[in-house]
Symmetry: none
Subunit: 228 residues, 2 copies
């Protein structure tokens, strides 16, 4: 059973971006571009969770949230709110209204994905995939632990997210730019060579114990997980 997510977002560019990435992550996704449409879609098929923009045409995110919470027929759908930085101080109101979490734009995709997983884990534990496997490595999201050959590998936060991203699509080559967008976020500007340093650290951690390199460098293209 794959989780069904409704994303309510009027900005088309962001909406498709989310749709694509959530689908890649294994969710079934539907887009609503305003509050009314969102409620309509919920009445057609109750989603496992919703991602809800704060500012929306016709019916604001907060109103949608209230409607859903008030309506007895819709069960307790987990909701994550998207807010712009300027609206940040209103987050309390958002949480009051019944949102399970909020995230301020701009955000890194990995951040949103992590929160969606967290919220889903709380609400529908059976739906969520908790661990990634590849070759002799296991990454467990719930415990934030990585094993290689059954032996625990200590990783810093950035290295963990990096590995998580690699393991979500083993073998695929990611350019440094793509990695920055995925791990750090599109809005942050981070020196391109920083990626090398973190990949280097990830490498050292994974390969401790003289095993063969788990990461492949593809010259003039980027890095990939060795998918053997």
């Amino acid at each position: 059973m794959i989780p069904y997510v409704i994303v309510v977002e009027d900005e088309a560019a962001l909406a498709t971006l989310l749709q694509y990435n959530l689908e890649k992550e294994g969710y079934e996704v539907a887009i609503a571009s305003d509050g009314e449409e969102a409620l309509l879609m919920v009445s057609e098929r109750v989603p496992d969770m919703m991602v809800l923009d704060w500012m929306l045409p016709k019916l604001s995110g907060i109103e949608v949230c209230r409607c859903l919470r008030a309506d007895k027929s819709t069960p307790n759908i987990p909701i994550i709110m998207l807010t712009a930085r300027s609206e940040e101080d209103e987050r309390v109101r958002g949480l009051d209204t019944g949102a399970d979490d909020y995230i301020t734009k701009p955000f890194a995709l990995s951040e949103l994905l992590a929160r969606i997983r967290a919220v889903l884990r709380r609400a529908k534990p059976s739906l969520i995939e908790e661990s990634l496997h590849c070759g002799n490595m296991v990454l467990d999201r719930s415990t934030h632990k990585v094993l290689r050959h059954g032996k625990e590998v200590p990783l810093g936060p950035t290295e963990f997210r990096l590995l998580e991203h690699f393991m979500s699509q083993p073998g695929r080559v990611f350019s440094r730019t793509q990695l920055i967008d995925a791990i750090w976020g599109t809005e942050v500007d981070v020196e391109i060579r920083t990626v090398d340093v973190h990949v280097g650290r990830l490498r050292r951690a994974l390969n401790a114990g003289h095993q063969h390199d788990a990461i492949r460098t593809v010259r003039s293209a980027g890095y990939a997980l060795r998918a053997d």
Copy 2:
């Protein structure tokens, strides 16, 4: 379903060049020579993506971009902007406006094709072909790997792009000049015999293991992939 691309470019020479090469790559292409024409064409048939020159008569590329993003009836069309080097510093504005990527003129065709694929992959994954096959060879773009008889063939960046180009039209003969334009770019000047050297290296790599030559030399014309 082959992807439909609208190229908006007022410089006729470049426009035809792009049309020719994109069609060869398997896209359906339409040319618009100014911004107004572009919007008209979009209203007639929504493309899967657009290549948009920054400087255009009547309605600049950036304005076209804004119009498309603002108009609710046009869905989120992926856009790649073409900018001249002098406008490079404005690229931030380009991305702000909602372009998915930009590329500065002059550029190598292979570069543009790669970006088009990247953008399409993000927006319409089903439309894009990730691997090329020919005879006993497979080239996988997502993992940057080449197999012959199921065995991995190690290639440098230039050899990889060269093979990619050959495999995009197996059997077709490319002149050294055409290869330079496609792999290195039209503005770079590279000695013509350099092509020979790289073809030689590609040959050696592919034929390692005494198989029959995968590349055909056509005397006084150029090289081609053996399409058997």
